[in-house]
Amino acid sequence: MSPLLTVEDLRVRFPTRTGVVEAVRGVSFTLGRERLGIVGESGSGKSQTGRAIMGLTPPHAEVTAKRLAFEGIDLLSASPKRRRDLRGKRIAMILQDPKYSLNPVMSIGRQIVETLKRHEKIGRAEARERALEMLAAVQIRDASRVFDLYPHEVSGGMGQRAMIAMMLVAGPELLIADEPTSALDVTVQLEVLSILDRLVAERGMGLIFVSHDLRLVSSFCDRVLVMYAGKIVEEIAASELGKAKHPYTQGLLNCMPVIGADRHPLPVLDRKPEWAL
C-alpha cells in the first residue's frame, strides 16, 4: 500500500536580516493511515513541519524537499489553486488556541458551513444539516444552539470542539493537530482528546499530532518522531518509549514532575551541541 504522505528531506528556511534561519533541516518520514506524533521543544521545527505539509508557511520562507507528496500529488509543484482545494478538503489542521484560530465575527455554524461550501456543491439546508451532525459528533449536546453562537460566547473546550468539527466536516484523509489541547484545562483536555481519538479511528484518517508533551503524545499515537533543532533525532514506537536511546528523548521523559515521584531537584536537560549537528 502506498503511503498517504511522503516527506523526504524537508527543509524550511527563513531569511532574516542576520542570516538564514533553518527551522526544519532535512526531515523525512512517511505516514500511512496511522497516528504519528511529532515532539520537541519550542523552536525544534515541529510546527513548521506541520505547516509546510499544510502549505501554510509564511510567503517569505523557503520550503524545499526532495519529495513532499500527498497521495501521489507533489505538493511543492502543485498550483496554488490545487493546494487550496486540498487544504481543508483532504488535509486539515487543528490549531492550538480556539480563541485565535476561529473567526471572531462569524458564528460557529457559519464557519463550519463555509468549509463545506468551499469544497462541495451543497445546498444551504443540507450544509446546515451536515454542520449540525458534525457538532453532535464532537459531543456538543445542544448543537442547534451552538450553531448560532459566536466564538467568544463559548468556552475554550467548546471552541476547540467546534474547531475539530470544522476541520472534519469535509472528511479529510490527513489531519494535522498542532498542540490541539495545550490551551485547554486538564479536565477538558481528555474529553477533547477522546473525541479526536474516536473520530480519527472511525474515519480512518492519518493523524499528525504535534506537541511538546512527550507523554501525552506517546499515549495517543502509534509512533513518535522526536525533533531537536530542526532534525529528527529519534523515531520510536510509542509503546517502546521506555527504551528510548537518545539522551534528548530520555531527558524530555524525565523532566516532568510526576505525582508520587519525589525527585528534588528535577532532572534537567543537558543540551549537547552535537545533538544539533
Partner: protein, 255 residues
C-alpha cells in the same frame, strides 16, 4: 504562631458573578501552598485578591498578622509580597531592557546599591550579566520567566505569589524554572502560594494544597495524601485522572 498569609471568608464578586465564595486559607511561614482547579474556579482570583490586584467584597486577608484591605496597599506590603505571572511574554515591558525592569522596583522603594543588586539578582536566577541590557524579545520564554522571578526577588520579599509560573513554558524548561523556585525558597525561607492546573507540578512544589471549584475550596489535603490517593472529593479524583494523561481504556470506561 502568626501565619504568613491568612485568608478568612473571602468573597470576590464581579457584578453578579461570585468569583470567590467565602474562601478561607491559611499558609504558615516558610511553607509552600498550592491552589489547583480548572479555569474559572477562582484560584487566580484568590491570588490576585491577596496581592491587592482585585478588591474583595467580604472577608479579611492578613499578611504576617497584619490585616490588609482594598487594592491600595502601603509600600511595606509590596516589599514583602511579590508576584510572578503566568505569561512571561506579557508581564515584561517589551521596550525596556532587563536592567531597567529590574531597576524599577528598586527605584519605587528607594533602595540604593542598584548596580550590585541587579547583578546579584541576575546571577541568582542563573542568567549572567550579559543578559542585563537585552530586551525581552531577545530572550527565550524560560529566560523571560527567570527575569520575572528576578524582578520579584530583587526586593527580598518574604512571600511569593506564583500564578501558573510554568504553564507557558516547555516541559524541559519548566523543570529548570521549578528547580530555581525551589532553590530560592530553600535559601531564603520564602513562603509560596502557587496556582497551577497541573497536579504534578503542585505536588512537586507544595506541601499542602487546596482544590477549588466554582469559587469554593472543595478539598484541602497534603501532597502526601494526594500521592497516596487519600482523596475525599470526586472532583479532586477527576483532576487526578486527568493529570495522568490520555489513556484509551480510561476514556472508554468513563464514556
Amino acid at each position: 504562631m502568626t501565619e504568613a498569609v491568612s485568608v478568612e471568608n473571602l468573597s470576590v464578586v464581579f457584578d453578579e458573578f461570585k468569583a470567590l465564595d467565602a474562601v478561607s486559607v491559611d499558609v504558615g511561614k516558610g511553607k509552600s501552598f498550592g491552589l489547583v482547579g480548572e479555569s474559572g474556579s477562582g484560584k487566580s482570583t484568590l491570588l490576585r485578591a491577596v496581592a491587592g490586584l482585585t478588591g474583595a467584597s467580604k472577608g479579611a486577608i492578613r499578611v504576617s498578622g497584619r490585616e490588609v484591605r482594598g487594592t491600595r496597599r502601603d509600600k511595606a506590603f509590596y516589599r514583602a509580597v511579590q508576584m510572578v505571572f503566568q505569561d512571561p511574554y506579557g508581564s515584561l515591558h517589551p521596550r525596556q531592557t532587563v536592567d531597567r525592569q529590574l531597576m524599577e522596583p528598586l527605584a519605587i522603594h528607594g533602595i540604593g546599591d542598584s548596580e550590585r543588586r541587579i547583578l546579584k539578582a541576575l546571577d541568582e536566577v542563573g542568567l549572567g550579566s550579559s543578559f542585563r541590557f537585552r530586551y525581552p524579545h531577545q530572550l527565550s520564554g524560560g529566560q523571560r520567566q527567570r527575569i520575572a522571578i528576578a524582578r520579584a526577588l530583587i526586593l527580598e520579599p518574604s512571600i511569593l505569589l506564583l500564578d501558573e509560573p510554568t504553564s507557558a513554558l516547555d516541559a524541559s524548561v519548566q523543570a529548570e524554572v521549578l528547580n530555581l523556585l525551589e532553590e530560592v525558597r530553600r535559601d531564603r525561607g520564602l513562603t509560596f502560594i502557587m496556582v497551577s492546573h497541573d497536579l504534578g507540578v503542585v505536588t512537586h512544589m507544595c506541601e499542602r494544597l487546596a482544590v477549588m471549584q466554582n469559587g469554593r475550596v472543595v478539598e484541602r489535603l497534603t501532597s502526601a495524601d494526594l500521592v497516596a490517593g487519600r482523596i475525599a472529593e470526586a472532583y479532586t479524583r477527576n483532576l487526578m485522572v486527568a493529570s495522568k494523561g490520555f489513556r484509551r481504556e480510561a476514556v472508554a470506561q468513563s464514556g
